[in-house]
Amino acid sequence: MKYSIMVNEGPYTHQASDTALHFCKAALDAGHEIFRVFFYHDGVNNGTRYTVPPQDDRNIQQEWSKLAKAHDIDLVICIAAAQRRGIMDADEAKRQGLDGDNIAPGFRISGLGQLIEGGIICDRQLVFGD
């Protein structure tokens, strides 16, 4: 099966991102495809490379980046939600006249159309949130 995943909450505050990660890993282990993970609302905060969680705890952003690289998963951060919350890639930061960007490896910023497209072309759409 081909999965489209939506993550509505940021790392650590809610379990949503963790559950989504575990689901994706289990799905991949079972031979399924994770087509896209779309981060919306505070979910965009999973995509900043500047988190420094305690050494003895999981690093959620790195888990997503690693998983995406290993399995060619499209990690998309919604541009509208990202702008509200200050997640920027280099192009967007430049466009907005900001002095830096913070997007994490493997994530890209794009529009809500990517979420709808995922729902259309995949076999299953799952939502993890609060």
Binding site: M1, N8, Q15, H22, A26, R124, G129
Partner: protein
């Protein structure tokens, strides 16, 4: 069409579980995850509601979330099946649509 409903909030915190039960069609499945696992426990103020739902829906609970919260599988309502993440994935393949009650 058949649906897998997931509920991730405790029935003591929010109306997600009661709303799900009220709006889930006959023949669907309900999977309790994250804080939603408290809805699977016997002897609570919500156990009757969940047992009632089990007449029309198959109810599952995510084992790792139970264990994390110190909830023993022995005390889960009779008839609720404990699954792990691969069981969760399996359920999504058996039902046509997934609906999250947040």
């Amino acid at each position: 069409m058949s649906t897998l409903h997931t509920v991730n909030k405790s029935p003591f915190e929010r109306d997600s579980l009661s709303s799900c039960i009220r709006l889930a069609a006959k023949g669907c499945a309900i999977l309790l995850i994250e804080d939603g696992v408290f809805g699977a426990m016997s002897g609570t103020d919500h156990s009757d509601m969940v047992q009632g739902a089990m007449k029309d829906a198959t109810v599952y609970v995510l084992g790792p979330d139970l264990a994390a919260r110190g909830m023993s599988e022995d005390r889960v309502i009779d008839g609720i099946q404990v699954v792990d993440y691969s069981g969760f994935v399996d359920l999504t393949t058996k039902f046509d649509t997934c609906q999250s009650w947040l």
